[in-house]
């Protein structure tokens, strides 16, 4: 019997399912960052707002990268539904902690897909995901550096304004 599946698709079908789940996670992240940007904008933290608008754009780019990868390799990418976005936050520090937790979850999810790729010998997708592993390390470090500012400078009055101004220099 011919291997029609392999002729039609370059990636493992189970890995494709995980990539589709990852698309939904990246879309969710993009929406969460927009909510954070909105909160910052309303609270006069303009540089943090700009930072989260940029983060949201990057998450959407990650989503599109995976989306196109699936379709280009014969699979079917599914446009995700995004719901359950929290818009209520108590402080800027809470926002950055939430953002770091979110990035850690995304990293774990990527690692989980890489593990699956190795198990089913889908080396093409594993190679594709290497870029995401590096990217996630950079993203996590970015949030860690910002949270360190809160440890050093505190969270009240002028400290908050100074942190907001320094956020734009963190890359």
């Amino acid at each position: 019997m011919k291997d029609i599946v392999r002729q039609k698709i370059g990636i493992n079908v189970d890995v494709m399912d995980l990539l589709n789940e990852q698309i939904a996670k990246e879309a969710h992240s993009a929406a969460v960052y927009l909510a954070m940007a909105s909160w910052c904008d309303h609270n006069g933290l303009i540089y943090s707002a700009e930072f989260f608008y940029k983060q949201s754009y990057e998450e959407r780019e990650h989503m599109l990268k995976i989306f196109k990868f699936i379709n280009e390799n014969g699979g079917t990418a599914y446009s995700p539904e995004v719901s359950n976005i929290n818009h209520d936050f108590n402080s800027l520090q809470e926002i950055f902690e939430t953002a770091l937790d979110q990035e850690i979850q995304i990293s774990k999810s990527i690692h989980n897909i890489v593990t699956k790729c190795r198990k089913v010998m889908d080396y093409g997708t594993e190679n594709f995901l290497q870029w995401f592993i590096q990217e996630q390390m950079e993203e996590e470090n970015q949030f860690r550096r910002i949270l360190e500012m809160f440890d050093l400078m505190g969270t009240d009055g002028i400290a908050l304004k100074l942190i907001d101004e320094r956020v734009k220099h963190v890359e």
Binding site: M1, K2, D3, I4, V5, R6, Q7, K8, I9, V13, G74, G75, T76, Y78
Partner: protein, 103 residues
């Protein structure tokens, strides 16, 4: 045509010559490209079978599924949905096994 898997209600086949798949739904046989088979798998996978046992979530206990860009429309009861889930899971399992054997 090669039989891939057979359940109580349905069976799946692969046609090497036409490089496509067939699903026999009992009263009707449907030709599917790989892409269409993937789409059916996605639709069936996302059906919440638990909702069939909750009158508030699924009062009638049926699912309406369209196939091949709405060329076909099927109405399945709970047992048929469970059967279809099993068919597609096993079909893709056989296809993966075939790929492992050939390479």
């Amino acid at each position: 045509m090669n039989l891939l898997y057979k359940t109580y209600y349905f069976s799946s086949y692969q046609c090497d010559q036409r490089r496509c798949f067939y699903i026999d739904f009992g009263h009707k046989q449907v030709k599917l490209s790989f892409c269409q088979l993937l789409a059916l798998r996605q639709k069936v996978q996302t059906i919440d079978i638990a909702s069939h046992f909750d009158k508030d979530l699924n009062y009638s206990g049926i699912e309406i599924i369209t196939l091949c860009n709405r060329e076909h429309l099927f109405v399945f009861d709970t047992l048929q949905v469970m059967d279809l889930k099993q068919l597609l899971k096993a079909t893709f399992g056989i296809l993966e096994l075939n790929s492992l054997v050939l390479h």
